[in-house]
Amino acid sequence: MLSTLHPPRSLTLLPLRRFHGPKTIVSAASTSPATTTFDAASVSPPQSQILNTRRSLLSGETTASELAKSHLSRIRLTEPQLKCFLHVSENVLKGAQEIDQRIARGEELGPLAGVLIGVKDNICTEGMPSTAASRILEHYRPPFDATAVKKIKELGGIVVGKTNMDEFGMGSTTEASAFQVTANPWDLTRVPGGSSGGSAAAVAARQCMVSLGSDTGGSVRQPASFCGVVGLKPTYGRVSRFGLMAYASSLDVIGCFGSTVADAGMLLHAISGYDKFDSTSSKQDVPEFESQFLSVDSLESKPLKGVKVGVIRETIEEGVDSGVRSATQEAASHLEALGCVVTEVSLPSFSLGLPAYYVIASSESSSNLSRYDGVRYGNQVMADELNKLYECSRGEGFGKEVKMRILMGTYALSAGYYDAYYKRAQQVRTLIRKDFKAALDQNDILISPAAPSAAYKIGEKKDDPLAMYAGDIMTVNVNLAGLPAIVLPCGLVEGGPSGLPVGLQMIGAAFDEEKLLKVGHIFEQTLKGLSFVPPLLANVA
């Protein structure tokens, strides 16, 4: 039981490996990169919360109501410091009781029965506030569920609440929320990443079991890295975006957070598939990912024999934190020990992705956000003239970062500027896609760090947009190419009361999430000696 919360310095530490010097890092296979044998006293591999819930509900070991109560009480205890949620549902317990009644009647249960799910606030939930952390949508309650949410509910999942984010997804720290700043459960003075910072921190702090986020340029993967959880960005088109508030439509996807690869994968399976309400959703088959999540005991000694892994050279060069670089290299060694063939690959267009991304995302947002005009929904500032009504509603409703991006997009799309910015950016996008294709023709997956550094301090980059944008370098290219990627914790660097997690990004070919989940799961289950439970939860029974 989590009895009290202390300021970070007095938080009890988990029995993590000790640091040996100022630059020492703890990471994948740091004991012995060439073999898969580790300390006998190591921490056991993380277990899927979805599968555990299913098992314990069916065996009668626990009830959905008990699970819901324990999570709600953890939310009550940790929320004052973490601030992950903008809204906690009043129907959690009711939903859980319904599941228990179904169990009592011997009815069939959906695969997500009793699973407690956080939903990013830019994903519409019927009757529940959905604001995208913007004043312009304060108090807005949509009259419908996003398709992803609808599917989750149909499968028995329970929406716990709406998680905090950077306004409309524009930011990398969750500081750009109009309502509150979320803290990183590993160190309350640091950012959880963004824009899906609330969803990542809520899973890290075990306030919910899994959560939904959205990823336009890394908004699922970077906070997953900062909070030490698994973040999965599916292929563009894999998941319907009906009900996701559009930021940059050619890049946006809904993604999944879990404390294990299996959880993220099973949540993805639940929300994937064609939807007539989203013409960009794909009719490709959604494979049954669950068969990939084998128990660690059933694995052979080289379970990933022959899997070709390319380390993206440009992501482990100068400019990337040395601890992050070594964690990535250690992760590559761990994959090698599992039987993978690891080589370096180069993506010559890599560095062009960042400016191209910011041109495309800003341009598309300036168009997408024109719908918030104070007329049809959201907050209205009355004026005697229509243009004044638009201008004042938008001027008062949008935050600084959102205004800035709309203005940059307006600039880039202006007559005469289009060729220099938007068209160029689209050309760069073609180059990036080509380079990825060439690299993925020769490799099964590509790996890179998820971000150039671990979580930084709240306020550190708030007034320096370029420094903050530069942090997205590892992730934006994947959105430009529309590829799937998974981020999972692979090591710790020094910082905070007990180290800060570092995420490894694995990138796959379009619609091949299955391979990412297989490799990711085996990587995670064999990564012994490390536990990615934040210090905040150290004294939770």
Binding site: E314, E317, E318, G319, V320, S346, P348, S349, F350, S351, L352, G353, L354, P355, A356, Y358, V359, S366, S370, D373, K388, Y390, E391, C392, R394, G395, E396, F398, K400, K403, M404, I406, L407, M408, T410, Y411, A412, S414, A415, G416, Y417, A420, Y421, R424, A425, Q427, V428, T430, L431, D435, A438, P452, S453, P465, L466, A467, Y469, A470, G471, I473
Partner: protein, 153 residues
């Protein structure tokens, strides 16, 4: 694998997270290209025409003040805010203008990319024009003939 002519400074600008500002100093000039401004509008209601020409005039004026025609005009935040229908206080303009300029400057590195590896987007003349014309049921003096679209009623 192919390589692209991108200067190391630009790579630094967009890649090196700590050095973004350093690179900024180096990437200030934008691409050499001319900007065409549409100056004549043939069929518009007089009101729209008036508005349109006022706008083009303003744009044209803002370019004509440019001493170097090869440079793109830096963002004028008040005008952008008017276009985007967002009211900004003078303090907000003062705060975000330098930031927007800084970011736009950095994004200008894109225009230095040479598009050699990309498909040329150039029109080609289709030779057999008569073949196409022959399949048009009713054709006269470069026009396709159809029944009248607008009626008086």
């Amino acid at each position: 694998m192919a390589s692209y002519p991108v200067s190391t400074i630009e790579r630094g600008c967009v890649f090196n997270l700590a050095m973004a500002t350093r690179a900024l100093l180096a990437v200030i000039s934008a691409s050499p290209r001319t900007i065409k401004i549409k100056t004549s509008v043939s069929s518009c209601s007089s009101l729209r025409l008036q508005r349109y020409s006022r706008k083009t005039h303003r744009i044209a004026r803002s370019f004509s003040s440019d001493t170097n025609p090869s440079l793109l005009q830096p963002p004028d935040v008040s005008r952008l805010a008017e276009t985007a229908r967002i009211s900004l206080t003078p303090a907000e303009i003062e705060e975000c203008e330098p930031k927007i300029r800084q970011v736009i400057d950095c994004l200008s590195s894109l225009s230095k990319l040479e598009g050699g590896n990309l498909r040329e987007d150039a029109p080609e003349t289709f030779e057999n024009r008569d073949g196409i014309r022959a399949s048009i049921p009713s054709f006269e003096d470069a026009y396709l003939k159809v029944p009248k679209v607008l009626n008086k009623e």
